[in-house]
Amino acid sequence: MITERLSSDYVEMRFGPRWTYISCVRKFVASFFMIGLSDKERAEQISMAASELLENAVKYASEEEGYLKISIAKAENEVDVCVKNKAEPHHINTLRRELALIQTGQPEQVYLKKMEEAAMTEGQSRLGLIRILYEAGARLRLDVNDNEVSIHAIFKLEAA
């Protein structure tokens, strides 16, 4: 696990699922990785991914759950953004299906198709995960442990 190997480029926050916190976390993550990576584009991609994952977590966290956790770890050649929260089984199943769907096919085509489908339906956009995958070039991974969901957006870093 990345967190066991990292040194200084690691940040973890745990807070109540309040929407208004997401913006300040996004700005903090961007600033933190702007310094840590010296790469504005990567830092902004990471902060965008953090923001989209947190938005999903706030929307779909189970109501009795009091907090969500974001940890971002930089290892030798990758950064792992992980958001963890408890969720209802039907939301977990939806997430599994969603991930499976967006990971099959060419990302741009999947993104455009998802946009067109979203435009035709009411409700949530469900564009956050494919946006992370396509626009930020991250790899996505889902870990489920009972009713606890961890979703990772993993960014490859250029070799120094």
């Binding site: 997401i22 913006s23 902004e44 938005e55 455009l112 946009m115 067109e116 979203a118 956050g128 946006r131």
Partner: protein
């Protein structure tokens, strides 16, 4: 500035939108951030109003300038997708120019992708601010 019916400014939380009619071009400047939980609540009806008024006035070009918009979440992007989809599916739509700053990561990633939804209607205009 023309602040006639349909072309009124909008301010929602940290987002500000200011439209300005300039001949047969409608210039709309967005600034701040689209990061609210349900941006569609405010933006979907607003874009619809802009769209209807632009058609009523026979506007040829709508230029949406997002260069001062420091972030847009995916729900905000969906509001633009809905607007573009409406333009694409109705005849005689104006040209929708999306003006963005190539130095802002989300803009450089999202705007050209949005333009691919309707290449005959949407024109991405990259600037180096």
């Amino acid at each position: 500035m023309s602040a006639e019916r349909g072309f009124v400014p909008l301010t929602v939380e940290s987002l500000s939108i200011v439209p300005r009619l300039d001949g047969d071009t409608l210039r709309i400047a967005m600034s701040g951030a689209v990061e609210m939980r349900d941006p569609g609540d405010a933006l979907n009806p607003y874009w619809t109003l802009i769209d209807e008024e632009a058609r009523r006035r026979n506007v040829k070009v709508v230029e949406l300038d997002v260069q001062d918009l420091n972030f847009m979440n995916s729900s905000g992007i969906l509001t633009l997708v809905r607007w573009i989809t409406r333009c694409k599916s109705t005849p005689d739509c104006y040209r929708l120019v999306l003006r963005y700053d190539r130095n802002v990561t989300w803009q450089r990633a999202s705007i050209p992708t949005l333009a691919k939804l309707a290449p005959n209607v949407v024109v991405p205009m990259e600037i180096d601010a």
